[in-house]
């Protein structure tokens, strides 16, 4: 094994990362030490670190250390500052720096983590952990005395916490949005995708879910399909597309319903749970909040 082999492998893995993670911020420096590959610095999220470890291990046929993860929630690293968006207009965060693929939205007020700026675009992180690019001219420095996200109540694996409002209030808020348009990456009262819809609803009940369905599916505790109750998250996938989808179970006189922002119908719709599970393939149900009726 040589240093050149390591350099070639790192270069190849960086190309792979660029293809998969357009928001890549990579501060790693790899060197060949007495005990093999050594790493300094880190990458933004754990998924990037995994690509590094898997890609280099395969190419070098050796065990490689994982780079530090700089931005995952709970990280001790301080390679960031806090910024405050000006105005009350909705923030649009995009996956890529070009701003052509909406990642998510957020309605101020909020304090953001700021990581990088390039060509009047800023790479920032929301309190739910989502990273994305936005225009930098709306941001001003904020210097909080303590962590401004310390009081954010996030969903966690294996935990069910008390809701701050009732199931009835949740249902009323959810149903008020019936018929509003589906928007890929959307997360506002006006328009949302499936994960943004449930995230915004439960955030108003006091719990912040992750933004995407994969992470939402790991939140809270498992509920069997036959035991789904109003307030639970119901995860499915398209029978033909395989695309992950999520809806929220709601109470109704005629039996449990599911409300969801539907890509194919292009709007927020409500339907009986049995119909929902009949049209899609069930993948999981999770309970994240304990409700009062």
């Amino acid at each position: 094994m040589t240093a050149q082999a390591l350099a070639d492998a790192v270069s190849a893995v960086r190309s792979e990362l660029d293809a998969h993670y357009p928001v890549l911020v990579d501060t790693t420096r790899w060197t060949w030490g007495e005990d093999g590959p050594q790493v300094q610095g880190g990458v933004l999220v754990s998924a990037q670190a995994k690509v590094y470890v898997d890609g280099l291990s395969e190419r070098l046929a050796a065990e490689v250390p994982s780079p530090a993860v700089l931005a995952d929630l709970g990280s001790d690293w301080t390679l960031h500052s806090w910024v405050l968006p000006l105005g009350r207009a909705t923030l649009d965060l995009h996956r890529g720096i070009e701003g052509d693929d909406l990642q998510t939205q957020w309605t101020p007020p909020v304090i953001l983590r700021w990581f990088a700026r390039r060509d009047r675009r800023a790479l920032v992180q929301l309190p739910d952990g989502t990273l994305g690019w936005m225009t930098s001219n709306r941001l001003m420095n904020a210097a909080p005395i303590s962590d401004p996200w310390a009081d954010v109540r996030r969903a966690a694996i294996g935990e069910v916490s008390d809701a701050e409002d009732s199931l009835e209030a949740l249902a009323e808020r959810a149903r008020r949005r019936t018929g509003r348009p589906y928007l890929w990456g959307g997360n506002t009262d006006a328009a949302a995708d499936c994960s943004g819809f449930v995230q915004s609803l439960l955030h108003q009940s006091g719990l912040l879910l992750p933004k995407n369905t994969r992470d939402q599916r790991r939140s809270g505790v498992r509920v069997a399909a036959a035991a789904i109750e109003p307030g639970d998250l119901v995860f499915v996938r398209g029978n033909t597309s395989g695309l992950g989808h999520v809806g929220l179970a709601l109470p109704a006189e005629e039996g449990t319903q599911v409300i969801h922002s539907c890509l194919t119908r292009k709007q927020i719709v409500e339907e009986p749970l049995a119909d929902f599970l009949g049209r899609y393939a069930f993948t999981a149900a999770r309970r994240v909040l304990r409700w009062t009726v």
Partner: protein, 52 residues
Amino acid sequence: MTATPCPECGGPVEVPADALPGELLVCDACGVELELVSTDPVALAVFEEEEK
């Protein structure tokens, strides 16, 4: 509840008795998401999907 080896890491994955085919479970050892391919016999496969 049945314990089945994770196809990714070999760690034990607990499959609830009321789990349905197609249901997704998570390996506590390695964190990978697994699809319950069949219940009799119990079979798991690493799951990957397009997200939204």
